[in-house]
């Protein structure tokens, strides 16, 4: 193999972080996030990326339990935060309409 697992992981993380930041900026233009939305979506996205990073690293070090726990502990709150964030955005949107 030319690239190690860790190298591929960090490259992927770079791609993800960039895409997430660009999406957030773009949707903010369209929907004008409130401070709450920013907080929820920002923390949620960060957790999502962290969850991926943690779980893949745990697989690479060969501790599958740490990987699945990582998915639960970081992934579930991440998804909840992002979904709640999304709802605050849409609610705000409805109000504005």
């Amino acid at each position: 193999m030319v690239f190690t697992g860790i190298e591929i992981l960090f490259f992927t993380l770079g791609v993800m972080v960039t895409l997430i930041i660009i999406s957030l900026i773009r949707y903010n233009k369209k929907y004008k996030f409130s401070a709450l939305s920013w907080a929820l979506l920002g923390i949620g996205s960060f957790l999502l990326v962290f969850c991926l990073a943690w779980s893949v690293s745990s697989v690479l070090e060969g501790v599958p339990r740490a990987a699945s726990m990582g998915l639960m502990v970081f992934g579930i709150p991440a998804i909840l935060l992002v979904l709640t964030g999304r709802r605050t955005v849409l609610k705000n949107q409805l109000k504005n309409d």
């Binding site: 193999m1 690239f3 697992g5 779980s55 893949v56 697989v59 998915l71 992934g75």
Partner: protein, 473 residues
């Protein structure tokens, strides 16, 4: 002794090659850590990755009818240090000068000063303390002894090191489990690469000699044959040990010698430990350094790498920057490894950087390998194998001048790189490209600053503490 007969499962296919990266990334991107995913990555790598690596069923180099097994008496060190060829005063002189100059240092020359010499001595110290002349291919030295005590004998003595053959033979479930267990243990003990191959008499010395008796002129008493070997070996476990990159980069100096010495120290250490493990499993085992048989062909047979212009093994991960040891055993219930080819001998045709770097001009500049050495009176070479023949006479002359191992060829080799993705990539690309491109790649390697020898800056780099952590922070 037949022509190479290799299963060609080598479809050089660039698209396949790129797939590795893409598949890896795609799989990496899926975060679920199910076991199936690991297996998938493994499968993709197995099927796609090694397409750049040709696997042979037989020993991969041609051997013709002039091939003869080699005798311990006809090794360079045997002539240089024990006078097995007393008529060859050239080589005897070089040997004596080596011993003499090995005690000296020169504080005006970086890397050749007392500090370098002291580190060199430290590198070798354990090897010399426990297996003295094993580096000069003397068999049965110190802890590399041939003795196979029975369990009863062992327990009688105060053999706390458990260096006896257990009465109970451990039964492995299958051959793969046996190979995995041996390799994992060797890795634990400190071997960097491990391969297992059938014992092959072609690579074993025909006879051995006692250096002390030889030095006393008792030639007839000194020589002995395989009848003294304690068992019929079935398998040979070949171990490779990485040498320090920065030490070798500083070649030729005492620091280069230190890396070599440290390599010999590890060879003795790990081969001995592995032999004790095998004995405790109920099998006979003899640990060997340069002795008993030729390490390079055994390493090639065990799938650890290819031959090269300079005559050393070139491995996939460390290039030529390795040392080799062996453990002979009568265990044959193991999965054997197969020889591999990843483009070294092909690259050697054009590269010749080792030949350029050699201070003694001992390395051949011929484009194609030959069956015979292209120079006279080369009793120290085993002939009849298609390879590049190095003129050991010129090599040992330089060692005599230096009083230390030289290592310039290893330092100069483009396959000698630290473990970084861009070197791994270049290695892959090298294999994909035809000869003329190799010329270009060689020039680029020089232009990029790799592999220059006799450069005092490399000595400073070795000691430089600024990018190193000694307390783990």
């Amino acid at each position: 002794m037949n022509k190479l007969n290799s299963k060609n499962n080598n479809a050089i296919n660039r698209r396949n090659f790129l797939k590795v990266g893409v598949a890896g990334a795609a799989i990496g991107a899926i975060s679920i850590p199910a076991k199936g995913r690991e297996k998938l990555v493994e499968k993709v790598n197995k099927n796609v990755g090694p397409n750049l690596i040709k696997v042979h069923d037989e020993f991969p180099y041609e051997i013709n009818s002039t091939f003869k097994r080699h005798s311990s008496m006809d090794l360079l060190f045997s002539g240089a240090l024990f006078g097995t060829h007393p008529e060859d005063t050239d080589i005897l002189n070089s040997g004596h000068r080596f011993i003499e100059n090995n005690q000296k240092h020169d504080n005006s020359k970086k890397g050749w000063d007392q500090l370098g010499a002291a580190i060199n001595a430290g590198g070798w110290a354990l090897h010399h303390a426990v297996s003295a002349n094993a580096c000069f291919s003397q068999a049965g030295q110190g802890i590399l002894k041939w003795e196979q005590l029975s369990e009863a004998e062992g327990k009688q003595g105060s053999h706390s090191s458990k260096d006896w053959v257990s009465d109970e033979k451990y039964k492995f479930r299958d051959k793969q489990e046996a190979s995995n267990a041996i390799k994992r243990a060797a890795r634990l003990f400190g071997a960097d690469l491990i391969g297992i191959t059938k014992r092959d008499k072609r690579w074993d010395y025909t006879d051995f000699f006692d250096g002390n008796l030889m030095l006393q002129g008792k030639r007839d008493e000194a020589v002995y044959g395989w009848e003294k070997f304690p068992f019929e070996p079935k398998s040979v476990i070949v171990l490779a040990f990485e040498e320090d990159y920065e030490c070798i980069a500083a070649a030729p100096t005492h620091l280069g010698g230190a890396a070599v010495g440290e390599g010999y120290t590890r060879m003795t250490k790990v081969a001995y430990q592995l032999s004790v493990m095998l004995k405790q499993l109920g099998y006979m085992a003899v640990p060997a350094s340069n002795d008993v048989g030729m390490s390079v062909p055994y390493a090639i047979a065990a799938g650890l790498g290819e031959g090269s212009r300079m005559g050393t093994l070139v491995t996939y991960k460390y290039g030529p920057r390795v040392r080799l040891a062996k453990v002979y055993t009568n265990l044959d219930f193991v999965e054997y490894d197969k020889p591999i080819e990843f483009g070294v001998m092909d690259f050697c045709k054009n590269c010749k950087r080792c030949a350029d770097a050699c201070p003694g001009k001992a390395i051949s500049f011929d484009t194609e390998p030959t069956f015979e050495p292209p120079y006279d009176n080369a009793w120290y070479n085993s002939t009849g194998i298609k390879k590049y023949y190095m003129d050991a006479r010129k090599c040992i002359k330089v060692w005599g001048d230096f009083g230390s191992d030289c290592g310039s060829c290893v330092a100069a080799c483009p396959y000698n790189k630290p473990d970084f993705w861009h070197h791994r990539l270049v290695d892959k690309i090298t294999k994909l490209m035809p000869g003329p491109v190799h010329d270009f790649m060689r020039e680029m390697d020089i232009a990029f600053g790799y592999g220059d020898v006799d450069n005092p800056e490399k000595v400073d780099k070795f000691f430089d503490a600024s990018n190193r952590s000694y307390d783990g922070q």
